[in-house]
Amino acid sequence: MSEPGSIIEIRDGAVSLGGRPVLRGIDLVIGPGEVVVVLGANGSGKSTLVRTMMGLVPARRGEVTLFGEPVSRFRDWKRVGFVPQRTSAAGGLPASVWEIVASGRLSRRSPLRPMRTPDRAAIGTAIEAVGLADKAKHGVSTLSDGQQQRVLIARALAGEPDLFVLDEPTAGVDLQSQQAFADAVGLLARRGATIVLVAHELGPMAELIGRTVVMRDGRVAYDGTPVATAHEVEHHHGHHHRDLNKHGSDYLPTVSAPIGGPANPERRS
């Protein structure tokens, strides 16, 4: 059973990709209006966590609910805005900024019906919110990486969602775009939207964050008041997982081949 009023809820969630366990023992409840950042090293499972929330990756065990409904049966997708992790907004053919942002409106439109005035207004507002109004008719492939990322954010904004989920929206994005992005997220937060954000570094967004979740090796290592970096958590909570300090922030599990001898030579006494 899901907690009343929760926006996203994962109970005892576990996820495997291609048989390899990626997430284990995830318990997470995100309530309305929360602004949550998910931090963690590469390979810690933070991207998989948000993809599980969106139903893009099935949970092997446990329960995932969106707005109180199991994600596999969830249909009210117009309430959700998603910004997937990627390096480029350009596809195999030319597409204009306006066209890509317009696909964010599809959750509110029926097939084979013409676009209405509110749709056009929402698309225009979304493009303006990320500061690309003068480039609406430009092809996306001519924009910088940061601008392309802003296009993807505008696409999610165009659906006017209550829940906004962003997977590393600021990775490799220039400072100007980061600011434009922080402004857009701030606007949503003030309107009372729930925001879940995967990030490596917060930059201009730091002041918006209300809660931080740190992922480590497929588990939630920290869940509480904001911290600036995953590294900070390691120092405050060192007693929980001493191995993390030893390996630094890019923690890689040591795996040994079955006949190659032990990976950790210290054990060979």
Binding site: M54, L56, F82, R86, P94, G104, G139, S144
Partner: protein, 329 residues
């Protein structure tokens, strides 16, 4: 003196117009999904369908549609399940389709000549029943490809986002595959199974050179496809050339004409694209001392935005005025 006084020419031109519209419309989504050769794969599979028709005495067009749709669905399933072996699966179906077709045609007691009219098209021998079937199927494909273009575009552009937008990604992917299969068999009589993929892909590649939006790419490629297929049929009415091959060569000629224009347009866009402002605080390097040229609005060197100022692109260097000299940026 008009070619329109011959019934078979009217039928051929009708078939050409609708194939010319439908093939690039579907091809646009195949190119966008980077599956440009899928039409070719389906064309090979359809050979088996034609042969089955010859063997059983059923209409080769109908058996070809059935086998091509089945093959296209199979391709889509294989593509969805095992990403890495997608092109190998395509190859297997390619060769299985054409070998099966040749084998079954032999069993049916027909020679390669019969198969030829399907492999390379024989637009001038289309019966009026065939024409109406072509027109009907092509209209359905065109209406779906244009009418559902926002959905199909979103799914091909970013399937994960499309899924979270509530679109049934699998349904739309299958729809494109089935439309491709129908188009291949519709175009079988016009350009032939071996060349149909060209009519699906080449007009799209041409229009992509000149456009910067998706919808204009789609519509322009449909116009180009129609021009090429009408032109090909008309030329073959006056000259002793095969219509199918003429259509494809006309489409390719269009690409050759558009390509340099596209190159120039892209070069201009690239030159004026702003430099990333992230490396503003680099070392201060002074340009060569004998830099006598004075950069300005009309100096002939492209002025490109770089953070809060403008760089001038000068022989592969980026120059910025700094007091009495120019800096390298």
């Amino acid at each position: 003196m008009s070619i329109l006084q011959y019934d078979f020419m009217v039928r051929a031109l009708l078939g050409a117009v609708f194939t010319g519209l439908a093939a690039p419309a579907v091809g646009t989504y195949l190119v966008q999904r980077r599956l440009a050769l899928m039409g070719d794969g389906i064309g090979h599979i359809a050979v088996t369908g034609v042969a089955l028709g010859l063997l059983t005495g059923a209409s080769p067009t109908i058996t070809a549609v059935a086998v091509a749709v089945a093959g296209a669905v199979l391709l889509e399933v294989i593509r969805e399940k095992g990403r890495t072996s997608g092109d190998v699966a395509l190859a297997l179906l390619f060769y299985g389709g054409i070998a099966g077709g040749v084998l079954i045609t032999g069993l049916a007691g027909q020679g390669a000549l019969t198969l030829n009219s399907y492999l390379f098209g024989s637009i001038t021998t289309i019966s009026s029943g065939d024409v109406w079937a072509t027109v009907g199927l092509a209209v359905v494909v065109i209406v779906l490809a244009v009418g559902l273009s926002p959905q199909l575009f979103a799914v091909a552009q970013d399937h994960e986002f499309a899924k979270v937008a509530g679109l049934n990604v699998r349904f739309y992917n299958l729809l494109v595959s089935v439309m491709a299969a129908v188009t291949v068999t519709v175009a079988m009589r016009t350009v032939g199974l071996l060349l149909v993929s060209a009519l699906m892909v080449v007009p799209v590649a041409t229009s992509q050179q000149l456009t910067r939006g998706f919808r204009t790419t789609l519509l322009l490629s449909m116009v180009l496809g129609t021009v090429a297929s009408l032109g090909g049929v008309t030329i073959s009415a006056y000259l002793p050339v095969a219509p199918g091959a003429t259509i494809v060569l006309l489409a390719l000629a269009g690409f050759l004409a558009a390509w340099p224009v596209g190159m120039l347009m892209r070069r201009r866009v690239r030159l004026s694209a702003p430099f990333s402002p992230s490396d503003l605080h680099r070392d201060h390097t002074v340009a060569r001392e004998d830099h006598e040229h004075e950069h300005g609005d009309d100096c002939g060197h492209p002025a490109v935005q770089h953070g809060d100022h403008v760089d001038y692109v000068h022989d592969g260097h980026r120059h910025v005025p700094h007091g009495s000299h120019y800096d390298e940026h």
